[in-house]
């Protein structure tokens, strides 16, 4: 077994079919190298979690092969489980146990020697910032604390590969950022391979070395976030007229600069065929038509644009992401 296959993931033509239903995963191929953070991006129901369940041996594939850490997920399930750690969708914790009791149970079930259990548990609780709440029942933890404990539990037996299924869903931005930092540190300092599913664009963008976009069970795009955005190439300008009556005229003016893009109902958005240098021309053209602008934004191509280009629709929840200024893609903002 090569060094890279020992810490990586290799998937070939993986399929999962459910009775009387469509193929949740329909022949995906992917490779994740050791120490890489692979972002698996897609809307709800795209097949992300089903893929994770198969790669973590909790669901047998209908067809295809997958090797995790060099082991076949069908024929070598116990070896795969010994190699991986997983924090699956929804932090699966017992509200009646404390954080420390969770760590004791997890380390013991993974067969750590008695003297190691306490040390490892304390070390991980400290690392995820939960030492102060270690003896509190988990039922009283916040969503962020639960997710951090979930991550600590997944690391109990020092896995080489970590699966995180939508680890930050429902978390506030502070908890989300703290979790990102820890995941990034695991990959860069400890060489842990991370397979991360998410429906948050900025999560994939900020964290992943490479991104795979899945839709209806198919892998529709794969590459580094930069590569994927470069494929789309053109930035989007989005403007809101001061008067709603001017929206039609604004659409006509902006239409001269490129094809339409998705926008909020009050706004007009187009992909600038000539790139961001056209922004000044756009402003001049609107001014020449005497259309007063309430708000004007230039968006660099985002992973949502990539998703839109590859699937013909916008990724669910993308609007919410755009509403968060600290993580947005906005390069220039002008208000008239």
């Amino acid at each position: 077994m090569s060094e890279s296959s020992r810490g990586g993931i290799e998937v070939e033509a993986l399929v999962r079919e459910f009775k009387n239903g469509p193929r949740a995963v329909d022949g995906i191929d992917l490779e994740v190298a050791q120490g890489e953070i692979y972002g698996f991006l897609g809307p709800n129901g795209a097949g992300k979690s089903t893929t994770v369940l198969m790669l973590t041996t909790l669901l047998p594939p209908t067809a295809g092969t997958a090797r995790v850490g060099g082991y076949d997920v069908v024929g070598e399930g116990p070896q795969v489980r010994a190699t991986i750690g997983a924090a699956l969708q929804e932090a699966a914790l017992d509200p009646l146990l404390t954080g420390r009791e969770h760590m004791r149970l997890q380390t013991a079930l993974h067969g750590l020697a008695k003297r190691e259990r306490e040390t490892r548990g304390n070390e991980l609780l400290e690392r995820v910032g939960l030492a102060y709440a270690a003896d509190r029942k988990v039922g009283g933890y916040s969503g962020g604390m639960k997710r951090r404990l979930d991550l600590a539990l997944a690391l109990a037996h020092q896995p080489r590969i970590l699966f995180l299924d939508e680890p930050t869903t429902g978390l506030d931005i502070q908890s989300r950022t703290a979790l990102w930092e820890e995941v990034a540190r695991l990959a860069s300092e400890d060489g842990v391979t991370v397979f991360l599913t998410t429906q948050y664009l900025e999560e994939a963008d900020a964290l992943a070395n490479r991104v795979g976009i899945i839709d209806h069970g198919h892998l529709v795009a794969e590459g580094t976030p930069t590569e994927l955005k470069a494929e789309i190439g053109r930035p989007t300008v989005e403007a809101i007229p001061r008067s709603a009556d001017d929206r039609e005229r604004m659409m006509a003016v902006l239409g001269r600069f490129g094809e339409g893009a998705g926008s909020s109902p009050r706004a007009v958005a187009v992909r600038l065929e000539g790139g961001e240098s056209q922004l000044a021309e756009v402003v001049r053209a609107l001014d020449a038509e005497q259309i007063a602008i309430e708000h004007l934004q230039l968006h660099a191509p985002s992973l949502d644009d990539v998703f839109l280009a590859k699937t013909g629709r916008s990724l669910e929840g993308a609007d919410e992401q755009a509403a968060e200024p600290e993580t947005g893609e906005t390069e220039a903002v002008a208000s008239a």
Partner: protein
Amino acid sequence: MSGSLRNQVGQLAHRSVLRTLRQPAQIVPAIVFPMFLLAVNAGGLKDATSLPGFPTDSYLTFILAVPFLQGALFSVMNSGTDLARDIETGFLNRLALTPLRGAALLSGLLAGAVVLGLVQAVVYLSVGLIAGAELAAGAPGALVLVLLSVTITVAFGTIGLFAALRFGSGEAVQGLFPVFFVFLFLSAMTLPLDLLTTDWFHAIASVNPVTYLLEAIRSLLIEGWNVGQLALGFAIALAIGTIGMAAASSALKTRLVRT
């Protein structure tokens, strides 16, 4: 049992006991409800002792066997709902990702039922004796009674585990409670088997295993040492436990499809 299996059972048993002790809502109804019914039955049906052939003058002593079975029914609910919750929350998946063996999971989960069974048996017997019930088998009989009660509680607990694994929902497990209560009512709960004169009722009660569990407990309270009835009671409890455990193991294999 290998060291690793023993360790796994021990860890899960510890969790199960902690969970049980931290949920007063599991313990209190399992103790209060049977005691309430004991008081009602002992007061309302005491004239039954004047029936020819009734085995004791104290209806309280006769009916004291019933709470042990009612308590065991709560064990179906408690062990089943705990496991169903683990399935619903994904905790079972977390356990499945460890080298945990199925046998360890089921045995560990029943540890909570053992604790609950023990507490219930001691409380029921103490309350009964304080209220004036007799214990013909004396102090050693009390130990055997507690042991039998715990065995029945664990046996019924396996049915709860099976239901949870088969249906995967706490509501489905709770739905079993009335079904089991019907079993209790269609047994020699309020009268000895040979005094049940309605043919269909007698026929059902005589094939209902609950009747023989009740009779085993009653033998200790009323007669002293009836080895035959005790052996039959233990055998039925063990048979229920064995069948329940086999069914639960099979359902666990279906539920945990890990490769």
